[in-house]
């Protein structure tokens, strides 16, 4: 204790200097119990999504085991689908689905990218929001409506073109139609299925790439104009390179969607079990279509076979879509550099 004669200042100066006391106070305080519970609830909701995905895989695997055990490796090499006779496999179902998806992408990618460029770069400013809504609406049209429209509206109008191609460009084997040609030999083909699926894929690719395009930095756009670029020159040298990652991801997502499309194709195709590489013949099939058309004849064995096919489809689309989302998000994060 200091004597009462000294002033407060002197006593302060006389006090020993404590150097080690300079510890920063903790910035975060302990969370309240309500907060902890709340964060726990949110975390479990996030976890629930993972759990659902896991459950899908688990139950498909459980139900598919007996089919896999019975068929063994021949599941991947058998062409036909006769579970009763124990001969079933996906060696043509899977490629036929890929063929349909490929036709869909060949048509959808140019149209969708052009639409995206139009909406984000060329359209007048006040038309932009209605156009975005239009693309969203196209994505919201139910696939059963696409199916009805494809069978009753598109098919009669597309037969003439298919017939002309198959008769005059038949030296390309893809376009050849075997057997006698009548109008009905061009219906229900892989080609028509691919065209209808392409319409469903267009809005997916268009909306993602539009979003990516519209984020191309304004400074580089103006730089391109200042160097004398025309509008297309600017798009080609600034917007497209900038959105490349997003475009690739969008196309992959579109592929995943095309692989999984079911109902429209179930209405259009006439399922065959050969490789459908004559695109204009009555043909075409895919895993999803087989499941939709055959689940009713369900003895447990047949059902197990369908589950096995569904598992393959699930794994493929999950991988493709996850890769696509990684590609898209990476291209997004790279863009925040301006």
């Amino acid at each position: 204790m200091t004597s009462p004669a000294t002033s407060p200042l002197e006593s302060f100066l006389a006090a020993p200097v404590e150097v080690d006391d300079d510890v920063p106070r903790p910035i975060t305080s302990a969370r309240s119990r309500a907060d902890k519970a709340f964060r726990g609830a949110l975390r479990s909701a996030g976890g629930a999504v993972l759990v659902i995905t896991g459950l899908i895989a688990l139950f498909l695997v459980l139900r598919a085991t007996s089919a896999f055990r019975k068929a063994g490796f021949s599941f991947f090499t058998t062409k036909t689908w006769i579970p009763a006779a124990n001969r079933f496999g996906i060696s043509t179902l899977l490629p036929n689905g890929v063929i349909i998806a490929a036709i869909a992408l060949v048509i959808a990618v140019p149209v969708a990218l052009a639409t995206a460029i139009f909406v984000s770069e060329y359209a007048p400013h006040r038309l932009r929001r209605p156009l975005i809504a239009l693309v969203d609406l196209m994505a919201a049209v139910p696939s059963i409506i696409y199916g009805l429209w494809g069978v009753f509206f598109l098919q009669p109008r597309i037969i003439g073109t298919a017939r002309w191609l198959s008769e005059h460009v038949a030296f390309i084997p893809l376009f050849k139609v075997r057997g006698f040609h009548s109008p009905s030999s061009f219906t229900s083909s892989t080609f028509i299925g691919g065209v209808v699926v392409s319409l469903m894929v267009i809005p997916i690719i268009a909306s993602i790439s539009r979003e990516v395009f519209s984020r191309a930095p304004i400074g580089e756009r103006e730089a391109a104009y200042a160097l004398g670029a025309s509008r297309w020159g600017m798009v080609r040298t600034v917007v497209l390179p900038y959105g490349r990652g997003g475009m690739i991801g969008a196309i992959m997502l579109g592929f995943g969607r095309a692989m999984g499309e079911t109902i429209a194709l179930a209405l259009i195709l006439s399922p065959t079990y050969g490789l459908a590489w004559h695109l204009f013949e009555n043909s075409g099939n895919s895993i999803a279509v087989t499941i939709a058309l055959r689940y009713q004849e369900s003895t447990p064995d047949m059902l197990s076979a369908l589950m096995a096919a569904g598992l393959v489809l699930f794994v493929i689309t999950l991988i493709v879509n996850a890769l696509a989302s990684v590609v898209v998000s990476r291209s997004r994060s790279g863009m925040q550099t301006d």
Binding site: D35, L42, A45, G46, G47, A48, V49, L50, T53, L55, I56, F59, L60, V111, A112, T115, F118, E121, Y122, L134, D136, L137, A140, V141, P142, S143, I144, I145, G147, L148, V151, F152, I158, G160, W164, L199, I202, L227, G228, S230, R231, W232, G233, V235, G260, T262, I263, L267, A288, A292, Y295, L303, G310, L313, F314, T317, L318, A322, S325, V326
Partner: protein, 409 residues
């Protein structure tokens, strides 16, 4: 006359694309003369080139395609016309402007026609369904009766789709009630909590958004129907729709919640609010409009899905208002089942249901545009009025200014 017109367009095009002006030898003009720069110009010559090329292409294709060559089919006709139009437009433009501007013009036509094609397809689908569906839906009994007493050969004056309408609404309601809280909570987890679990959850959610719908049906069939022993019913169908909806709701809600300005959260924390309170009184109300849009769009997706319902709902031609027992049909399933009948009346019924489904989707879509489309924090007119009433006119100027963070989204 033509000469002056040509020179005028030439000048305009040169202004349109300044780089070209130097490449081509410019006609002698007073150096330093000031001309107003017009970024985008529509001249008489460019319009004439466009419409002339279009007319010429239609005429030429009609002669060749319809009269000379043995071709048929509307699609082929329009594709040939389009090709001829592009070639002619490029040719005509080449006589007016230099090469790079020709490329620019042709590309403009290409991308604009892609936009028009999308518009045409959507309008055509809606129009065609209305056209074919009107036959059935104009009969009053179509919306007030079920198919329990009508056979495939009965005329359109008996039987209807009431049971499918009820089923669709009930299944959509159940799926919404289950999936929206879960989806929004998962989105809140991604935005507000984060951590090492967030990245896999986000990737899986994005992958599941494009999950083949038939897989959702197959999963519920394997899990609920086969393993839990619950029969095919409206509830099982709603669960399949839930599996589809959760990732969709989560993804779009996450995008919306990310737009909530961080400053609002920080202000709430600075006032001493806990995280629960911040989320429920600041974050969610701010994003209300966008969240409503996300939910309604997900509902529109769910009501139109066929394949999840196909495996899980079963089929009945009569009314079943109880989703928990017995098969329950919904509109997409009704369409899918009846369109495959050979009788024209059944196909007409399918189209009638298609029209009803399309109307439901359009109404939901319009509703989503109506309530939503606003970024978080943007006030509607009514909210603005209320705010002024509460805190006096002084607040007006502040309410109008948008947060700089918002415009980035």
């Amino acid at each position: 006359m033509t000469d002056t017109l040509e020179r005028q367009t030439e000048r305009m095009e040169r202004i349109d694309a300044p780089g070209i002006a130097e490449a081509d030898a410019a006609p002698p003009r007073a150096a330093g003369a000031l001309t107003r720069i017009v970024i985008r110009s529509v001249s008489a010559a460019s319009c004439t080139a466009l419409f002339g090329a279009a007319l010429a292409a239609i005429a030429l294709t009609w002669v060749l395609y319809e009269r000379v060559l043995p071709l048929s089919g509307a699609l082929g006709f329009w594709m040939c016309t389009y090709l001829a139009f592009l070639l002619m437009y490029a040719g005509v433009s080449r006589t007016q402007v230099p090469g790079r501007v020709v490329v620019d013009r042709v590309v403009t036509v290409l991308v604009a026609s892609a936009g028009l094609l999308v518009l045409a397809i959507v309008l055509d689908q809606i129009g065609y369904v209305v056209f074919r569906g009107w036959d059935a839906i104009r009969h009053e009994n179509f919306v007030s009766q079920t198919m329990s007493l009508a056979g495939p050969l009965d005329p359109l004056t008996s039987g209807g789709m009431l049971h499918a309408l009820v089923g669709s609404l009930e299944q959509m309601a159940i799926a919404t009630v289950v999936s929206v809280p879960l989806g929004v909570f998962a989105a809140l987890f991604l935005v507000e909590v984060g951590g090492p679990l967030a990245r896999p959850v986000r990737t899986i959610v994005e992958a599941m958004t494009a999950l083949p719908e038939i897989i959702a049906g197959l999963f519920i069939y394997a899990f609920v129907v086969l393993s839990l022993g619950i029969d095919q019913s409206g509830f099982a169908a709603a669960l399949a729709l839930t599996v589809m909806m959760i990732p969709i709701v989560t993804r779009s809600a996450e995008v919306i919640l990310r737009l909530v300005p961080g400053g609002l959260r920080e202000a709430s924390y600075a006032l001493g609010a806990s995280q629960v309170r911040t989320v429920f009184t600041v974050v969610l109300p701010t994003a209300r409009s966008g969240l409503a849009t996300a939910v309604i769009l997900a509902m529109a997706r769910a009501v139109g899905e066929t394949s999840p319902v196909l495996l899980t709902a079963g089929f009945t031609s009569g009314m079943n208002a109880d989703p928990f027992s017995g098969p329950q049909v919904s509109l997409p399933l009704y369409i899918y089942s009846y369109v495959r009948f050979p009788q024209p009346t059944m196909v007409a019924r399918a189209f009638g249901a298609g029209l009803a489904l399309m109307v439901m989707v359009l109404v939901l879509f319009a509703l989503a545009r109506l309530v939503g489309g606003k970024t978080p924090g943007e006030l509607s007119k009514r909210q603005m009025r209320r705010m002024q009433r509460v805190s006096g006119p002084a607040v007006e100027s502040r309410a109008v200014t948008t947060d700089p963070q918002l415009s980035e989204g």
